[in-house]
Structures are given as C-alpha cells and as structure tokens.
C-alpha cells in the first residue's frame, strides 16, 4: 500500500538544467499525487481503527471462543457467537469461484488478445467489461430464481456419479442453496475483473517478443507459453487477486443464494454455508448493541483476510519480477 507514496521518488528527477527553481505545475502535481496516495492509507487506517474500536466490546464479552464456535447468538445472555463458519464459508465459496473464473477469465482474455479477429475482439472486450457493470443484486436475483433451478440437475448428477468424492457427496438429498451455486455465481461476477485486467496485461507484451517467437517457428500456443505468460504472470496474479478480493467481500448476491446455516460443511452440493459479508447484511437490521459489535468483529476478520490475500499477491508478484521479462 506504500507504493503510491514512494512512486514519485522513483520517477526520473526533473531536468536539472532548469536550476533550483521548480516549476509551480510540477510542484502542484507532485503535491496532488502524494496526497492522493496518502489519502488511500488514511482511509484504510481509519477503517481499521473503526473496526477494532467497535469490535472490542463484543470480543471481550463473548462466552465462547469467537474464532471457533459454530453458532450466532451475540444478543443472548451470555453472548455466544463465533465466526469459524463465516470464515470457512467465505474462503470456500471464493475458492470455488476462483477455480472456475481464473481459467475461463484468462482463456477469454487470451482469445481476445491473440486469437479473435480484431473486430470481434473489440466487441467481445466491450461485453466482458459490460458484465462488470451489472449490479450484484441482479446477479443475486438471477442466481436465485433463474440459475439455481438449472444447476440443481447438475448437482444431482455430481452427487450421484461423483458422490464418492467427499466434497460432492450429498446425504440430505437436497440440492438448492448450496455453496457450489454461490461459488458459480461469484465466478460469473469476478470473471470480468479477471478477464479485463489479464487482457490489458496481454496487450502490453512487447510486439518484438511475440514476433520473435513466431519467427522462430513457434505455434500460437507455444508463443503464448514462451512470450506472453512469462511477461504477464505478475499481471495475471494481480488480476486473480483482485477477483478474489471481490469474491471475498461480495455481499448481497451471496446473501440471497447461500442457505446461511451455522455449520461448517465441506459438501458443496448440499444446502448450507455462510459468509462474512452476507451475514452482516442479514443480521444488522435486527441486531442489538452487542450483535452489531460482533458483526463488526467479523468485518475486522474479513479486512485482515483481504489484507493477507493482497500481501500474498504482492509477494508473489515481486518474487517473479526477475523472470517476467518486463522493465
């Protein structure tokens, strides 16, 4: 998060020929960019401070371990609530979404950047971007009323023929409102993020690299593997992580689709699962003082999870920097 602040110092220093006097335009612009960067940090710090401050009351009065307990009764006496189910469900739905969305998103971006005829590529890119503009409530309602009934037969098929794989087994014989359906809708929601950023990154690959690979007799696929992927890997990771960030924090679509039960459940075809942000949306209106504090505490954990995801992404990007062929 400190990158935008350091950025100005990394830039080439203004031409020294002009002497000591810095032009007002330069000074003002530098001032604006520096403060824009600092503002991002201040906003993040304020959010973190707010979350910590508001969540302390419920964390100190919880009668059970807030990290492991599997039920939600913060306004009971004594308060008993835990977020293990929420954290598990958030990660599990996001993992499913990533497994589906990252290959498809990168595939679509590759097609648009290297395979599609130029006119089709422009149109297709436009439509992928358009998908990102659909509000999440629409995805939620569509997922609940239209998509879910169509996925149920597929879930039944999975449970019947692949039920020997533990995550597909289904003892309840019910297939609606499952983690898999929520994950699939999330995948559709993050697809444009993954695809649009990957596409932009692919378009940055130096023409020289691509043409050199083709000139050496590489097929298209070999060119993509040898010239495009090494150069684009950090960007693709960034794209995936931004998608993951959206999946982790998605609220209303998941709130509509998931069954919101307080049990940890690996079986993705059964009704069940819960998630941090949807739980806040569902419980906030009727929550008492301690309930609100507990909900904010779950928000704090989500904040940390997102932070860890981003730091991991940054670390991966930096680790691969030397091999990327960029710069």
């Amino acid at each position: 998060m400190s990158a935008p602040v350091r950025e100005p110092s990394r830039a080439d220093s203004p031409p020294a020929i002009t002497g000591a006097s810095v032009r007002p335009g330069d000074r003002n612009f530098r001032f604006l960019t520096t403060w824009s960067g600092i503002l991002v940090l201040v906003i993040l710090a304020t959010i973190a401070a707010f979350l910590v401050w508001k969540s302390i009351p419920s964390l100190t009065t919880d009668s059970v371990n807030p990290l492991t307990y599997q039920a939600w009764a913060p306004d009971a006496d004594p308060p008993a609530w835990g977020m293990s189910v929420l954290i598990f469900g958030t990660l599990w739905t996001s993992v499913i979404a990533m497994v589906i969305a990252v290959p498809i998103g990168i595939g679509a971006a590759l097609f648009i950047a290297f395979y599609a005829p130029p006119r089709l590529a422009t149109g297709l890119g436009f439509f992928v971007d358009l998908l990102a503009a659909v509000p999440s409530i629409i995805f939620g309602l569509w997922g609940l009323y239209n998509f879910m009934p169509q996925v149920v037969p597929f879930s039944e098929w999975l449970a019947t023929y692949l039920g020997w794989i533990p995550i597909f087994s289904n003892e309840k014989e019910l297939y609606t409102k499952s983690i898999m359906i929520a994950g699939m809708v999330l995948a559709i929601m993050i697809l444009p993020t993954v695809s649009a950023i990957s596409r932009e990154v692919f378009l940055q690959v130096p023409k020289g690299h691509i043409e050199a690979a083709l000139a050496l007799g590489a097929t298209r696929w070999e060119m993509v593997r040898m010239a495009v992927f090494p150069f684009s890997r950090p960007g693709m990771i960034s794209a995936a992580m931004l998608g993951l960030g959206r999946a982790l924090g998605e609220t209303i679509a998941v709130a509509l689709i998931l069954s919101a039960v307080f049990e940890i459940n690996w079986q993705i075809t059964e009704p069940g699962g819960n998630s941090v942000a949807p739980n806040i949306a569902l419980k906030w209106g009727e929550a008492g003082a301690n309930g609100r504090s507990a909900l904010i505490a779950t928000g704090l954990i989500l904040f940390f999870i997102t932070l860890i995801v981003n730091m991991t992404a940054r670390w991966m990007v930096n680790r691969r920097k030397d091999f990327s062929g960029a710069n």
Binding site: A3, P4, R6, E7, R10, G37, V40, I43, L44, I47, A71, W72, A73, D75, A76, P135, S136, I137, L144, Y145, K172, L174, T176, K177, P234, G235, S238, M241, L242, G245, R246, G249, T251, I252, A255, L256, L258, S259, V261, F262, E263, P271, A277, I280, A281, L282, K283, W284, G285, E286, A287, G291, N310, A313, R314, V317, K321, S324, A326, N327
Partner: protein, 382 residues
C-alpha cells in the same frame, strides 16, 4: 511499471471496498423499499371516514420493525390524505435500529417486534424530557403460518412437538409416522422434507421459536431468538423469499407471515393443533389469541405476554404483536408530540385497525384495544 500496477491495484481495491460498503447499505434501503411497496390497497383505507382523524401539521419521522411497515404505510397514506399539512416518514430499518434511533433522539417513535423490556426502558428513554419514560403500545398484530408445498395434500394438521421435530431436522421424511398419525387418510409422499427458515434476523423467527419453545413441551431445544440456530434446513432472506422458496420447491415447508401464505398460489397453511383440536390460520383466529394476551407491563406500558400454548378451540396460537415505543411524557417539542399523538390515535381507531386485515395483519381487539386507546389518549400533545 510493475510498481505502479500494484499501486493501481491497491487503489482499485480500496475503492472496491468503499463501493461494496455502499452496495450493502443501498441494498438494505432497497429491501426497505421492497417491504413498503405493497400499499396498493391504501386507497381503500384513505376512503375511511375522516372523522376519526385529528389533523395536525408538521412532520415526524419514525423507524423500526419491517414487519409492521406495510401497516404503518397504510396509516401514513390515510392520514396524509386526510391531513395534507402532515408528513410522516417511517423507515423500516429493523426493530433494533429503530429503538436505537429513538434512543438517540432521531425519531418520534420506534416500531419494534419485541417490547422494550422493563430493565431497558430507562436507557431507551434518553430523549424523553422531565423524567418521562418510554412505553410500549401494541398496535399491529400478526399471525405466522406454517406453509407447505405438497402435491395433493390439503388441510395438513401439525402439532407443536411435530413442528419442533421438522424444524430441528429430527423428522426428515414426509411419511414419518409422527406426521402420518396426525393426518389419517392423507397420503403423504416418501420424500425428504425441504425445510425453509429465515436467514436474516427477524421478529418472525423470534415469535416462531417462542411458540415452539412454549408449546412443544420441551421437544424444541434451540431456545428463542431472532436468529435461527437449529441445524439443517435452508435459510432464505426475508418473508418474500421464504414463500418464494417454498412455492418453487416441491415437498417443502417453512414459516412465514400469514399474508404471504394467503397470497401464495403454490403453498397452503397448515392447521395447528395445540391440544384443543386443529385450528386454521386465519386473521380472526389469531385475533382471538392476541386479545387473550396477558399484560405484563405496568400502567400504560402495555408489554404483552402471548399465550402460545393456548388450548382454547378457535385460538390460532402462532401470533406476534408489534409495538410502537414512544415517550409517555416529555417527548421533546422538536419531535412534534401533537402529530405523534394524533397519528398513533388514528392507528388505534376503528378505521386504523380495520385497515389491518386487508393488509394481511391481525387487528387488536377487545379489552386490549380499549387499553391501547387509553394509553394513546394519555400521550403528550405538546
């Protein structure tokens, strides 16, 4: 170049967080609008004789329970039609948030699904001046129906302990002997019961679990609360989606407000047998139970204790009452006590209460209504 990409990513993420926050708050107001969107029948209420209406001018705002939002909307439309100088704004933000808004002095009254308990009244009455205290006034009754979607089955009868078994997932098949015994002559399918409950916190869940807890002789072990805690089943958000889920899922069952079940084409309300014979879920049968509720508050604080375990024939036991919470004395002048009193007085009038049935609610009747009117008449007018 890469550094700046990360910076862009970080900035995009921060904005993303903000946008998501905005999304969640806008979605709650969206659902509010959804809850309040039904008052198409308001014109009939508006046609009620204006003689009941004491017109005051100015504006008040109130907020709270979404369960009573449609009722309040009807009253607001009728009152504002009769008194063009008055503006009443009711936000269906939920009971907890409504009481909090009243406590912090933002509203003239709060709508709440559960009465503010005697121990909490002093704290919740912070804005009442000159030592005034808040009181709970029961204003809107409701009934919770157990809706089921079973092809070819009519008039299903259920008892509280069987309901407890279905809703804690110990009874999982429709042709379970416990259900079959209650319904001789009815062919029940050999199918898994798809059970639906509310995934959001709700007064409906609190009253339904309250009923199971009080009437099932210990068969229900998951306590009483706004949040569903029993294992199994499927959660759905809001009354509208509970009934939509039941209607679209064969062999399903769930609890929902009576009006939603009555309007459903593909779901029926079960008859409930507390021990005095099966009782149909109707507004009249529910009104009987509410009229028989015991007042546990003192003076004009009409906090009620509902007799969920009633065995009186013709009393439908799964009912709820929502209250208006306001200052018995000392409502600050900027909260427009005159309009507050006049509006609540219209709500308690014959016209106000009779408009409830059409909106899917249950009116307050009998002695209780007399006491409600006495409490409203005693509210400060200046």
């Amino acid at each position: 170049m890469k550094k700046s990409k990360v910076a862009v990513a970080a900035a995009a993420l921060a904005t993303g967080t903000l946008v998501l926050t905005a999304c969640s708050s806008s979605s709650s107001s969206e659902s509010t609008a959804g809850n309040a969107s039904a008052p198409a029948a308001a014109s009939s209420a508006a046609a009620a004789p204006a003689g009941d209406i004491n017109c005051q001018s100015g504006s008040i705002s109130a907020s709270g329970s979404s369960a009573q939002a449609n009722a309040v909307t009807e009253w607001v439309n009728a009152y504002q039609t009769a008194c063009p100088d008055a503006t009443i704004d009711y936000q269906a933000v939920g009971s907890g948030a409504g009481v909090e808004a009243f406590t912090s002095g933002q509203t003239s009254f709060a709508g709440t699904d559960a009465a503010v308990g005697a121990a909490d009244i002093a704290a919740a009455s912070a804005q009442c001046e000159n030592g005034g205290q808040g009181i709970n006034i029961p204003m809107v009754g409701g009934a919770i129906a157990v809706a089921y979607n079973l092809d070819g089955v009519d008039g299903l009868v259920l008892t509280p302990d069987v309901l407890a078994g279905i809703f804690d997932s110990t009874i999982t098949k429709w042709n379970d002997a416990k259900i079959a015994d209650l319904n001789p002559g009815v062919t029940l399918p050999d199918a898994t019961i798809a059970q639906f409950h509310r995934s959001d916190s709700s007064g409906t869940t609190a009253n339904f679990t309250g009923y199971l807890d009080a009437a099932s002789n210990g068969a229900w072990t998951y306590g009483v609360g706004k949040d569903w805690t029993a294992p199994g089943g499927q959660g759905a958000k809001g009354s509208d989606q509970v009934i939509a889920s039941i209607e679209s899922t064969p062999n399903s069952i769930g609890y929902d407000e009576l009006s939603y079940v009555q309007n459903a084409t593909n779901a029926k309300a079960a008859q409930i047998d507390n021990g005095g014979g099966p009782v149909e879920a109707t507004s009249d049968n529910a009104a009987n139970t509410i009229a028989g509720a015991q007042i546990v508050g003192s003076g004009n604080n009409l906090e009620l204790s509902l007799d969920y375990a009633t065995k009186t024939p013709g009393d439908y036991p799964i009912v709820l009452v929502t209250y208006e919470f306001t200052c018995e004395a000392g409502l600050p002048a900027d909260k427009n006590p005159a309009l507050t009193q006049a509006f609540l007085s219209y709500a308690a009038s014959d016209a106000g209460q009779s408009s409830l049935t059409g909106a899917g609610y249950v009116p307050i009747t009998g002695d209780l209504l007399t006491k409600v009117r006495a409490a409203v008449d005693a509210l400060p007018t200046s």
